[in-house]
Symmetry: C2
Subunit: 302 residues, 2 copies
């Protein structure tokens, strides 16, 4: 959706809005992400501090997806019936920890109350003018890549603290900020994987008016292909690059970058996985199932 106005370089429809700085120079990136009890998490799985950390990390993943440098964040939080003053204090300790780790400063927000805990995180970052990574740049023939291993966050959520690595992945996702910046000028399109590859790749293809086929998937140990393709909340980067660009097997020798398929001409948004068409299914963060897309429960951005 192209919503434009003064100073709006990219409105609704990508991971962040891209805005022209009042003084020129670098472009601004801005995004909001809600994080709500019983929708995105339950109080029985996450501590308050973990919830605060996760709320910031997942929001900053949108800055990473655009190739941006995180600068500032604002946190609005409505305390639920179950969450009082000490919960709030611990939540903001998690916010502080994640902000410090990823180089973003808390500059404001609002507090209120609601039947359940409901938060909204605004993140603001920057990129050199005109260099933000968009979802819309993929072209037929481009190769499709993902960072990391897919399905780890959901595996962690299901198996809990008995699988420490997967649990850590679930509780403290790592927005791929360095990788995103490195991909500026390299990737033809990029977005982060928040709702699962099947749905997110479809969005990238819709934005680029292309189709895609997938024939490989880097799965988290113990995770089946069918699960990895639909699992949400990995916060890895999904990106495309022309065949002429050499993408290394790892980024900085640590993070795997796997070629999973190819962009093709075809109906906008169509995704073939191992030769079969992937239906347009959404991801329910708590039910761990693929559900028909509910237009009321997606993102304004999508």
């Amino acid at each position: 959706m192209a919503v434009q106005g003064p100073g709006v370089l990219q409105g609704i429809g990508d991971d962040c809005a891209i805005l022209q700085s009042p003084g020129g120079g670098d472009d601004l990136l801005v995004s909001n992400d809600m994080f709500i009890e019983n929708v995105h998490f339950t109080g029985s799985t996450l501590t308050a501090g973990e919830a605060g950390y996760r709320a910031i990390a997942r929001a900053l993943s949108d800055i990473a997806a655009m190739g941006g440098v995180p600068l500032w964040h604002l946190v609005s939080a409505a305390w639920g019936d179950r969450t009082g003053e000490s919960w709030s204090r611990e939540f903001f300790e998690g916010v502080r920890e994640a902000g410090g780790k990823f180089g973003s400063t808390l500059v404001g927000g609002d507090t209120s109350r609601a039947p359940v805990f409901a938060s909204d995180v605004t993140v603001i970052g920057s990129v050199p003018h005109g260099t933000a990574l968009l979802r819309s740049g993929a072209r037929p023939g481009d190769r499709i890549y993902v960072s990391g291993l897919l399905g780890g966050s959901e595996f962690g959520r299901i198996h809990g603290r008995s699988h420490p690595a997967a649990w850590e992945r679930h509780v403290r996702p790592s927005p791929r900020i360095g990788l995103g910046q490195w991909l500026r000028g390299i990737a033809s399109a990029c977005m982060d994987l928040s709702d699962g590859l099947s749905l997110d790749l479809r969005r990238l293809c819709e934005a680029s008016a292309v189709s895609a086929q997938i024939d490989a998937l880097p799965c988290w140990p113990g995770v089946q292909r069918e699960e990895a393709i639909h699992s949400g909340e990995d916060y890895e980067l999904l990106f495309t690059a022309p065949p002429s660009v050499v993408i290394p097997e790892t980024w900085e020798g640590l993070l795997p970058l796997t070629r999973i398929g190819e962009i093709q001409e075809g109906p906008a948004g169509e995704v073939l996985a191992y030769g079969e068409s992937l239906p347009p299914l959404g991801y329910d963060h708590l039910e761990r199932r693929r559900a028909p897309l509910n237009p009321d429960c997606g993102s304004v951005r999508d």
Copy 2:
């Protein structure tokens, strides 16, 4: 509270954060405002379109309070059990109407679900570098002013559509954007009146480490002095200026500017009204009563 970080000119503690544009030039103003069913409004009093309009107008009042020019806004909204797709569509029609009226462009947001409707509006504006109006600049001897008439919004909420002018004031508040910009270089301190004069003037005095005395109040027709002093949601501007500055009786010949008292040396935050000390009471948006301040239900900014 001075929270600082790279590019943070003013962190938490005022109506907006003031941030340094990546390219220099004008400063950025950013603020978040939650607007939640059964806390800030009820579905039985406001239509969806009115709720959308109000959510934007009240958030832009924070830009006005800093002397800023509105640029962009993001709207996160969690639909409640009672509010479905058509409610959502109408809500965003109200958002669009207010954005158009006050010159701000919708550039993003997020949607989710919750037991009640819960929204959070992020507003971004700009001011020439170093000229933002702060709460902290009031000095003993400065005169205290408010724009408009106080108590109208609450009068409208109580009496409903049978009092059209007050109702309109309640439903469609007018952020004093032009006045705020005019006050740059004139006012020594400024903030908007969202939680009632008694509480907001106390906040201004705390930020400026001064006391205040009030001996006049411009009341909405039919509103008693005692009500006007505690009524919230007028979204008028409260500002101070040294005696050497001549403040006209109206701004642009239309909006009354009333001198209501004087800043004094004394305990930070103390407010005397007509010779009596005003207790530190908060404002409950729905109960229309003064309640002891609940630290969980204020604003991160306050």
